[in-house]
């Protein structure tokens, strides 16, 4: 039996180190894959939510466009053009319009709550013709929501009130005749489209382009303030996001994905 050559232990050590390095590299690459997989999952999840939110806004635009082109509203403006008086005929048209508003409010719900709050029909001069909130409500201020130059509905977000205002121009014989306006509470988005299905170690925020949370429910509720601030800073910093590639980012031991939601006023 030949004695072991002096070099073998060294070779063994080298092989062991190489094996250990291989294991470490394998472990690392598995971790990287897992993280990438988690990020991909996160992104996919965010994409689904973004699509749902985008669909929500698309549906609201469709609702308003349908109302603005409805038979009830056309009939009113047609009869108004014929110089009919409110007392003898026109008022019936307005009643039919108010009923179509009420019908929409009953039909369009999320989780059992009506999507739409107050709804208005305003003439081209800004005079309110139909107001679902009634005479006792605070006077509506539709001035900033008139879009006489537009052809399609617009949705605006008022951060101070947390309300979304969907507004659609009404045309009669190709001339601007008035506006249909409907308000909706942005917290619906958080409650029914952002929050559901989010795991305990996951946070979803719907933010404006400036990084402000859209819904009051989102503004720090149940979230670590540092996380919210971190997300806010990151979301607001386009350059940093660009560096993170495809809206994925990692900071403070967190991984995240930012996605633009098409068709929103944010």
């Amino acid at each position: 039996m030949k004695p072991l050559r002096a070099g073998w232990p060294l070779i063994g050590a080298v092989l062991f180190v190489a094996y250990a390095a291989l294991l470490i590299w394998h472990n690392y690459s598995t971790q990287v894959q897992l993280r990438e997989s988690a990020l991909a999952g996160l992104r996919l999840d965010a994409e689904k939510r973004a699509a749902a939110i985008s669909y929500f806004f698309s549906e609201r635009r469709n609702d308003l466009a349908d109302l603005a082109e409805s038979r009830e509203i056309s009939a009113f403006f047609a009869n108004k053009a014929l110089q009919m008086s409110m007392e003898y005929g026109l008022r019936a048209n307005l009643l039919a319009i108010s009923q179509s508003f009420e019908r929409l409010r009953r039909q369009k719900t999320m989780g059992g709550s009506p999507i739409y709050g107050r709804m208005l029909l305003v003439d081209a001069e800004g005079e309110v013709l139909v107001d679902t909130d009634g005479e006792d409500a605070q006077p509506a201020e539709p001035a900033g929501l008139m879009t006489p130059g537009a052809r399609v509905p617009t949705i605006l977000f008022d951060r101070s009130s947390g309300k979304l205002a969907a507004t659609a121009p009404v045309y009669f014989k190709d001339a601007y005749a008035g506006q249909v306006i409907a308000w909706s509470d942005a917290s619906h988005l958080h409650r029914h489209l952002v929050e559901p299905g989010v795991s305990v170690d996951q946070h979803e925020l719907l933010v404006t382009a400036e990084g402000d949370a859209v819904s009051a429910d989102d503004r720090g509720a149940g979230l670590d303030a540092e996380v919210v601030e971190s997300a806010r800073t990151l979301f607001a910093d386009a350059n940093r996001l660009r560096g993170a590639g495809e809206g994925l980012w990692a900071e403070h031991g967190l991984v995240g994905a930012k996605l633009a939601v098409a068709g929103t006023p944010f």
Binding site: R71, L82, M84, S85, M86, Y88, A96, S98, E102, V130
Partner: protein, 312 residues
Amino acid sequence: MKTRRFLSILVLALGCAALPATAQDLQEIKAQGVLRHLGIPYANFVTGSGDGLDVEIIQMFARHLGVRYQYVQTSWKSAFGDLTGRQVKQSGDEIQFLGEVPMRGDLIANGLTMLPWRQKLIEYSTPTFPTGVWLIARAEGKSLPIKASGDRARDIQATKSRLRDGSVLVMEATCLDPALYGLKNKGLDLRYYTRSTNLNEMVPAILNDDAQMTLLDVPDALIALEKWPGQIKVIGPVSEDQQMGVGFRKDSPELRKAFNAFFQTLKQDGTYVRLVEKYYPTALRYFPSFFKDEGARAAEPGPSGQAKTALK
């Protein structure tokens, strides 16, 4: 002798056939087990397809009495004879008896306007629906709608002055009879619609150029404005506020009393509001004074709650 006897039996038999056994009042109707509803397809009161505001009310009334419901179609010309057994001719507020006819029904319900000449012939239930008569014109007609003054009498005068702008379609022996509104012998171009006695045809007739304008019941006009938006216009009122009710024979007081009591329960339990909303969705708020109790009921929470909305 034999021939004479045969003839007298024949005459008696024919006489019996001409006067069919007919329920007179509540007890007889209950005994016969059937309530015969005389109706004329008109607006959404009797749609002609088996339903309508008045059809549903009378069907419920028959169920309430525990008798079978039977719809008997009639016409404006023969409805009162079919109810009372007495054929009449109407001229303005006056009526003239022409003879006996078979009684074919126990009540008339099809948006029957309460008019003085009818009240000489029949009894009405408590008012079931508000109405009035408006002047309607084709959209492109030269007559312009009046500007409401807030004074009905002045608005009626203004509307009547528009009657000279063109031909006006009217129908005798109905609530659209020009004699009821002092329009006869005034040099107006009145066109009597005789193609049928169906009031639903008045608007299609002016759209078909039979005349430039027509008189129309307010409930019918509200439906017409929805059916033909932009094709017709309301010029203004021709009458003061009117009311509709269910018509009964004068010798059926118990039936009328039973109906009035039943109708009151319909109003109290909300059934009537639901029916009005079904057939005349805008009526509750268009006639707020008539429906003031029902309007309050409609404003209660629920699918019909809508009273909060403000209109210009």
